[in-house]
Subunit: 119 residues, 2 copies
Amino acid sequence: MREFVDVAKALSDSTRVRILIALKGRELCVCQLVELVGLAASTVSKHMAVLRHAYLVDFRKEGRWAYYRRVGRDAPKRAQAALRWLDSSIEMKKGMVDDATRLAMILEIPVEELCRTEK
Amino acid sequence: MREFVDVAKALSDSTRVRILIALKGRELCVCQLVELVGLAASTVSKHMAVLRHAYLVDFRKEGRWAYYRRVGRDAPKRAQAALRWLDSSIEMKKGMVDDATRLAMILEIPVEELCRTEK
DNA sequence: TGGTCATTTCGCCACAGAACGAATTATAGT
DNA sequence: ACTATAATTCGTTCTGTGGCGAAATGACCA
């Protein structure tokens, strides 16, 4: 019950949903997510903490970078069910398409270059 | 997308989740829901408006009473999928059992009597 | 050891939303 | 028509959360 509501809360913000959709089938670095959603790094980091606590994402640190990915089969069932619900509910339209093309462009750029703070 | 987040928001409050669980397989009057969750009628009414706008519940008015029920097959797919997700995620434990027995007691009382304001 | 840089944590502000009681609306009964 | 009452809407208060920039953390490099 408590856990269910926590997961629902995690899914009840459009930025977090955009991130989860972007993470479908791939892992992404924080700086790539920052570029995708166009918010401050601290804000994105906070969002990722929310997703982590709901067991919707996992991450690994590689040097200075943190790569986030969706949780796998070892995650709680409610998290997997939530991701299935998300994927089955989202239709590709409006903002989603924009994100998809934007993400494609981001993936073109090497991470080392993308993360340069100046830009 | 927008719609998905709205549904997720509707599910991200424990009172609303309790109500949706109570509504599984039956319709309930507002005064019964008030009795169940123990909140002010105005608060419950607002919760029901949120659930309505997310297309998770429907209602019919019978005289002074308003009977709420879960939406049926004619509702948006995302709403039905959300309810399926809810049902599959909730396990009967802790607060849920309390609600179940409490609801059983409430159902014993005729609505006309239950809605008497004095009590 | 010191400097740079990606990420997170902290402190703050602004707004969304959950709660209540009071006022309003609508229906039933007299 | 008047009263009673179930439900909703309104106005208010308070807590929770999203946003940012600044400071702290931790890793790499020189």
